[in-house]
Symmetry: C2
Subunit: 351 residues, 2 copies
């Protein structure tokens, strides 16, 4: 603490050491050599900077250039979500690749903290804002801010708002097609609706109905006999629903495949199947949804599922919001990213 080796080296120090002006240093380091700085001088400056271990002072630069190269992320729950982190990490990585950094504010699903979070981010002079929700929702109004915003894992009534979200319908359709292709004729979906009185962290989530409707439509199209059991999203919900669908039902009427609203529900279904002595996928095929980390791929057997594009959402969100912040016109203001099928071992032809 006593003897700091040497004080910070500033642009002025580099200038002095290289025998040029601070301007030249600034130009050289920012590649603003639009015909005004000689290659030789530039080389010397760069070398001197290197030798002195010069690091531009980010804060000073921000003050002057009125841009902080930072992006605010406000979310209702990076935490509680099993995959929120995936979106965040992808966004952080993408941001980093263009010299930006993510400032994170978690509102813990408390609406009253949202405004405060945005406000704080504005005070911090972030260049842009990403608003990520845990469940896929449709916002009736965009977050209040003058900053460019993109909505991630949610969208808005107003089609002009920038947003990236999962194409749940596509995913559910893929699931049914996979099963139909395998030859299944009786499929039961373990669905889950948005419960307006449900847990806060899932309020307004509309993935449930979207997945169900797409599933039903696809089943009709492929002439597959489809049944829906409304339940919840968690392991025990999947267990209960699967029991309803399977227990005591004669083999001839029993569904030969189950499409679960989440991987967790699918796991519950696996538990039910095990309890009932049903082999997966021999007696029963199971498809999940989410491709949840350390869950789908580690299930017994590994779960065939529909992957939620969290990483891509994070990346696209950053790309879009940066483009908007740069004043570019962004095409495709609403981006529905496909939820792709991941085939593993929990599905097979019925026997």
């Amino acid at each position: 603490m006593a003897n700091q080796p040497r004080r910070r080296v500033r642009a002025a120090d580099v200038a002095a050491a290289a025998g040029v002006s601070p301007t030249a240093v600034s130009f050289a380091l920012n590649n603003r050599d639009s015909g005004n700085i000689s290659p030789e001088t530039k080389r010397r400056i760069l070398e001197t900077a290197e030798r002195l271990g010069y690091e531009p002072h980010h804060v000073a630069r921000s003050l002057r250039s009125r841009t902080t190269h930072s992006i605010g992320l406000v979310t209702d729950a990076v935490a509680s979500s099993p995959f929120g982190g995936r979106l965040l990490a992808a966004a952080a990585e993408r941001a980093e690749s263009t010299g930006h950094i993510m400032l994170v504010m978690d509102t813990h699903s408390r609406d009253d903290r949202e405004a405060a979070a945005i406000h704080e981010l504005e005070r911090r002079q972030v260049d842009a804002l990403i608003y990520a929700s845990m469940g896929f929702r449709v916002l009736s109004s965009r977050p209040t801010t003058h900053l460019p915003v993109v909505l991630a894992n949610c969208t808005a009534d107003n089609p002009d708002e920038l947003s990236v979200f999962p194409d749940d319908a596509y995913g559910a359709t893929r699931a049914l097609h996979h099963l139909a292709d395998l030859g299944h004729q009786r499929v039961t979906m373990l669905s889950g609706n948005w419960d307006p009185l449900g847990p806060r962290d899932n309020q307004g989530n509309i993935s449930g109905p979207i997945r169900r409707d797409a599933f039903l439509a696809a089943a009709r199209e492929r002439s597959v006999q489809a049944t829906v059991i409304e339940g919840g999203w968690d392991i025990h919900d999947g267990y209960r629903s699967a029991m309803t669908a399977l227990d005591g039902v004669p083999a001839g009427q029993r569904p030969t495949a189950i499409f679960a609203i989440t991987d967790r529900a699918a796991l519950g279904a696996m538990l039910a199947a095990a309890r009932l002595g049903l082999d997966v996928p021999g007696d029963l095929s199971i498809v999940g949804f989410d491709d949840q980390e350390k869950m789908a791929e580690c299930a017994v057997p590994p779960l065939t599922t529909i992957a939620l594009p969290h990483a891509r959402m994070g990346e696209e969100a950053v790309a879009m919001v940066l483009a908007a912040a740069a004043g570019e016109t962004v095409e495709d203001r609403r981006r529905a990213l496909p939820c792709e099928l991941v085939v593993r071992e929990s599905t097979a032809p019925p026997r």
Copy 2:
């Protein structure tokens, strides 16, 4: 874009409107009224600031005061971890409560990116650094930086380094005591060792051996017959190990309880039990470890487990590092936080 309602209001504007100097404004707003500004003037300034909607410019303030009120968090995986987010969210919230904000850099478990991440954070002039690892590890050297650092979910050889990490041994002991108190005499632990050739994201994780050793010691102390099966941390590992422990073993020799290294392994054990027609907790009690979100509490039946103190680690890490940054002497430089028992329905007396 054309007509910005009105330009930013600066401290000077407030000063002008209130008929005082910028100095007075600064003093009033920072409560630096150590006997130099009259209450009346201060009130007028505050009121004027309020009326004009004045917001101090954070960047300018940082430049001048040489402190950014921000904390860098570098982690090897907020993403891949099922609970990394919990630590992050708690840290973010705690930071926020003192006007700090978290800057996140995820290295995706690539060591070569760590230095770059720290460097970037330093360039950003963060006041302090938190280094969070996904699995509990012991670092042989601290991250290279002149900033105050606290290690979260890991610790260092050098006892002077600040760190917060889970007391795995305590947790494993609690688990066995719970089972012993219930009357179990034969308990099998589904353990998992650090595999030096294992997946990157779990390298160096020492929770496995710690939990196992503590479990064994506690069993000895309580005269419980303990067996350990070495396996892995995931669902399928738990399934396989549980099968080994249970399948074909006569009831009289079979363990009456299983202690799994993770909730995921516990879930695998539940799957195995279901497959073997064993009732949980009637025929078999199961205790997990982690208290993983949407997993332990939603299992069938809800899983008795040992909770990892991720939220507390996040909070303590922020508190410690801020104290260190403020130049305070920090007691308890190494903090092992207890992993507490959460009793749910997967455990009962043996029958």
